[in-house]
């Protein structure tokens, strides 16, 4: 691992401190939570029906989302990417609540840190900054565009994750 790979965000303690400030409404007055039950399916997201031979289908996650009391997002959609019946990857598109805090790099890095279980690697792919991290036998890519953020989670044994990433970077919001 290198400092680049170690370019992790912030220690957990710092993240907590930021959270407390946000909760107090002091340093981040822009932050405003949305209850899960109020989260809508992401609007204005256009994804192709198939990518690299994988079929995209919207998953029903309403129950999971609704059970979450406070989030940073006001809309979310999750796609499953399947080869035949085998789920090879999931692709999540979410839209943050209105505000500018989501464009700050520090905030984004903290988000990535929450999503992955490894120190993220910052990549430049097709002109987009992409954060690569890991989950449970998953390779996870996260990127941001305006109020939207995207999470592509691929099985560790999926053979062409980087090609899939490049295709999904073209998704328009």
């Amino acid at each position: 691992m290198t400092p680049r790979r170690l370019a992790r965000i912030a220690p957990v303690a710092v993240a907590v401190a930021i959270l407390v400030s946000g909760c107090g409404g002091g340093s981040n007055p822009e932050l405003k939570g949305t209850n899960g039950s109020a989260i809508a399916a992401a609007a204005n997201v256009t994804v192709p029906p198939t990518v690299l031979g994988l079929t995209l289908s919207s998953e029903n996650v309403a129950q999971t989302v609704a059970s979450t009391p406070r989030t940073y997002v006001d809309s979310l959609v999750l796609y499953g990417l399947r080869q035949d019946n085998l789920l090879e990857a999931t692709f999540q598109v979410a839209r943050f609540n209105p505000g500018n805090v989501y464009t700050r790099q520090q905030f984004r890095l903290e988000m990535v840190d929450q999503i992955g279980s490894a120190l993220p690697v910052t990549l430049d792919v097709a002109g987009t900054t992409v954060y690569l991290t890991e989950g449970n036998r998953q390779r996870i890519y996260v990127w941001f565009a305006n109020r939207f953020f995207f999470v592509l989670a691929c099985r560790q044994d999926y053979q062409t994750p980087r090609s899939l990433l490049r295709q999904l970077l073209m998704v328009q919001t």
């Binding site: 680049r4 990857a89 053979q159």
Partner: protein, 390 residues
Amino acid sequence: MRWRRGVGVGVVVMLSTVGLTACKSNGDQIKTQVDNMLLQAEQVPGRFLYEDKTATTDTVVKGVVADDDKYESELAVNGTPVVDEVDVDDAVADLFLVPNAVPLLARRSAGGQLLPPPPDATAPTADGLSVLQALSSQRWVVDPTGAADVYSGVGTHPIGQDPIFDARDVFSYVLTAISQGVTMVKYDSESISPAYKPQDDPFPKPAFGSAITRYDLVAPSVPTKTQQSGGNEAVPSTADFRKLVVYVEHGRVIRIMEQIDLTWRLQNIKSNYSLSLSGTTQQQDAAALAAINAVTVGQGNTPIRPRLMDYQIIDPGVVADDITLPANAVVGPLDVLVNRGAASAGTTTSTTEPPEGATPSEGSEESTAETTPTPATTAPASGGPPSTEG
């Protein structure tokens, strides 16, 4: 620790300590600045020139980087172009321009011995040729899933075994090298305590008044024979013999140079280890290197490899949008080459476990209702940033 040992000895020592502490702090700031500039430089597309020069071999990699997953390289050895390579996302394509050059990038054992080719390298592909036959007959071979995973640390190997990988990974290497140094200082031709004495400094000096700034890495001291490291006798390592400089122009890294050299620390080795070496300086270097590496390898560590490395960034910011895989290539696995093939791509075939939050069963119908979003985005963990009200 070194500073504390001096405390209380005398006023003079204390004053020196204060001064040194201040310098260290400044050096740490410079290290951080240089680290940040290297991280920025790594993100910028453009062309590069990488040279790795040892006593016997001069290896040059010329490359074009479109982005982190799209680049092409040409490897030349002692002035002769040997390999062309194109990497596009998961795919890698290699062309050996010289017959019988495959061993140059073939997989090796930890001891540096060539490994026998894997069975799939000798099996016929759809073109009728095996991968080895194609590589040996100046044909492009594309492995659709075999690109090296440069950023996941999968392709760890001794420096020099895969110069193309080394060139792409140079920023990580340099950042690690800087972390192993004591501090960094800005080069000043009039400094009374430069990082390298003039006779030990092989690197170009910025002209007076130039916009180019050179930052020099200060190497650690050669350990003494009484020092311990991890329960073993402390043995000099690569970091102790490293000279490394980073050239910056208008806030951007333009060049990095490194020399791993025993000569400038030869007297330290002899005195710290009570060695009596004879012969020319070159002969003494060789004897010291052999002795150090014998112990280093015995301890399971990578031996010291003297070299001169030069990395130049050319045309930063110029995006190459015409990097594509070659047409009419033989398609097959490139596992025969180090850092290429499925084993180097960061993917494995041993698991069938689906992504977390989803519960599909392989080859059967599944319940999509159990496919869940990434937890942090909708169900923030305590202590994390996504929750906003409290």
